[in-house]
Amino acid sequence: MACPKDFDNSVENKWCPGCGNHPILQSIKEALAQLGLAPRDVLIVSGIGQAAKTPHYLNCNFFHGLHGRALPVATGAKAANHSLTILVNSGDGDCYGEGGNHFMNAIRRNLDITLLVHDNKVYGLTKGQASPTSDLRMITRAQPHGVILEPFNPLAVALALKAGFVARGYAADTEHLSMLIQEGVRHRGFSLIDILQPCVSFNQVNTYQWYAERVYDLAKEGHDTSDFMAAMVKARQWGDKIPLGILYRQESPSFTDRIDGLKEGPLTGRAYDPARLHKLLAEF
């Protein structure tokens, strides 16, 4: 039986003590073990940021690429070998800021990966500028007059783009988060898990305390995950009450399911055949 420890490695962890990333890391390990996956079965793709450091602290295959560009890398990897189990660890800046266009298009592709956004509502690694999800009026060194942009609502946008698995987790609730990750990986198609992640160094607004007073479990409320409009209502809820859990779920053929040429199996497993090229050349 797989066990979370299989994913441990000896790399020094560079996150701040108390950072919400630590329990997220633990939840990932637990989810992967629960799913019966071994390190050799897992590919993690990440961008750049604190969140994007995650794969270094996991014993598995990884591609740690450019800021904002994890999703295209994952898309290419999936197209090359659609038997891969791919998770993407991204930050709110990485995924919704620099990578905003890819976020929308990975959803449009219904790319069969699980996207974990460590949403600390701040640019952590670059020392505390506002991120797309920062609350209005949050003060930072880059926004000394407070944030004036309407916060990006990843769940509502994902729903508007017809994402098939839209969920919100909370770093401090590892059991629940591990469950969400498992469900996300099991879901065939694109799974978004936006994870509320306290940043103890730069976000003094959305703290553990702040979240503890607000989060609640949708599942316990009898939320219907097949009801789009209900999901949209919940996606827009923020402030006094913040819903956690799966907002919406609906399977449909994934990106690689829809590519006719992949029915014969992953591209990685196919062979170069001179006869085919010979035939094509003969047409010129």
């Binding site: 790399v11 390190p39 050799r40 079965d41 897992v42 590919l43 793709v45 750049i48 450091k53 794969p55 270094h56 014993n59 598995c60 295959n61 990884f62 591609f63 740690h64 690429g65 450019l66 560009r69 999703l71 295209p72 890398v73 994952a74 898309t75 290419g76 990897a77 999936k78 197209a79 090359a80 070998n81 038997s83 891969l84 189990t85 266009n101 890819h102 929308m104 298009n105 590519i259 006719d260 040429g261 992949l262 014969e264 591209l267 990685t268 196919r270 062979a271 170069y272 001179p274 006869a275 085919r276 090229l277 010979h278 035939k279 094509l280 050349l281 010129f284």
Partner: protein
Amino acid sequence: MGIDITITIGGEAGQGIQTVGQLLAAVCREAGLYVFGINDFESRIRGGHSFYQLRIADHQVRAPRHRVNLLIAMDDATLRLHREELLPGGLCLLNSADAEAEEPVRPIPFFKLARDAGGDILANTVATAAALALLGAPGGMLEKILHRQFAGKSSKVLEDNCTAARLGRAAVQGIDCSCIGAWPESGRKRMIMEGAAALSLGALAGDCRFAAFYPMSPATGIMMNLAAWQDRFPLVVEQAEDEIAAANMIIGASYAGVRSLTATSGGGFCLMTEAVGLAGISETPIVIINAQRPGPATGLATRTAQADLRQVMHAGQDEFPRFVFAPGSPEQAYETTARAFDLADTYQVPALILVDQYFNDSLFTLEDALQAPEKVSSRTIDDASQKNPSDYQRYALTDSGISPRAVPCAGETLVMVCGNEHKPDGHSTESAELRTAMVDKRARKLRGMASDMRPPTGAHPEAAIRLICWGSTLGVVAEAVELLRADGVDAGYMHFCDIWPFPGTAAQAALAGAERLICVEQNSTAQFAGLLRQETGIAVAHTVLKYDGRPFYPLEIVNAVMKEGR
């Protein structure tokens, strides 16, 4: 010199000018003749002015001509714009309902005849048939091509086209134009293809299995070819949301184990430059074709240039080994593209190929058929090739700079790849020593890479005047040299296809002893000349530069050389 005539077909975008050129070329191919076609069009879908110039010969031709034997003007603008180009004795067929016109114009009601045959769309066939009749092509050849072309369509389409052909032929009966004396009796049929096709085929010969792209002229053709061939190969072609995505997608696919390509033009390449660096530091093989067009920014979207050489050489922050190629013929493009995949895979570096609108959209006859390689072998390793897969280090420090590359999730080997500076195991590092070691390791590849670079090739290597060129100008420069020699000038040329790592020693050898070096480039600052000086100290005496978005004509080069360059 036997047969060597040039036809220009001109008209509005949307009138199927290109189709006429291609049909004519297909017939010539059938007859064993050689063709060379260029494609000139504006950045619009209907209206304006576009033309297709087809040169037909009984020997290899690889350059456009500034004078034409036959002008087919589908509209008045064409006559106005191209009249000057007509050779003495040349003829112009002008779409016109008038019965009369001034020599050398012959009015032919192309569109009226087309409508008689079944519709405006048949004007192409009318014009093609008229041209062929004037050229004295043996009857029935066009019909043969039409049969082949419309094999899948309804019989009505074929019938209408045959009617159109008949009407076109009839319309020029009695007009004398003996530019092609005798057509060869069904000679050897040689391959004809556009530059873009040679690149696409080369990708398949390099076992490319994944291509991502964002449409951008003049690169789109390469990708449209591959898209059409997806059914026939283990190949997925994906249109990305932007060029950044395209470049990162091919990196992901290559990491996961398949050879990958993207193609774009300079503006799209701008957006890919960060990813080129990612391929560099993560040591992921990728191939990128930059089909150049005039810039900066949007510039002239449908025209040609060779002004991105320094851009691709220095794209991306900091330094890392890369290949830069600039093929000058379809044969070279086919082979170089396949080689680029192979070399990228061997050295785990990005390989960048520079072509341009002129090359991509021009039609070439190939002397020898392209051959599919018998075998293409990937250079990745697996569990079986390692003593202990769990000790695998993606960035092992080696003498060659090349670290054995494994693919993820294919066994016990964990493949950890990182765009931050990293340790041999792929985890990021802050160490000054490791940083230096990794830069040096990557740089060591350059030794092997340089040894795989081919020297420039050319003609008349001992000539007093030596023209230097790179990329698509090969054919034009070669012809210019022959013209110069015919005029008694001791000229030769050297063409660079393999540009980086710069074949410095070979360049020095090739250029030694010349009295005068002249660099011919389609840019305004002589980028290659600068590179040559930087790498070898050789300063060229003159440059012949053109940067108006149109291809060189051999005579322009001849004239410039006669005036001692500029």
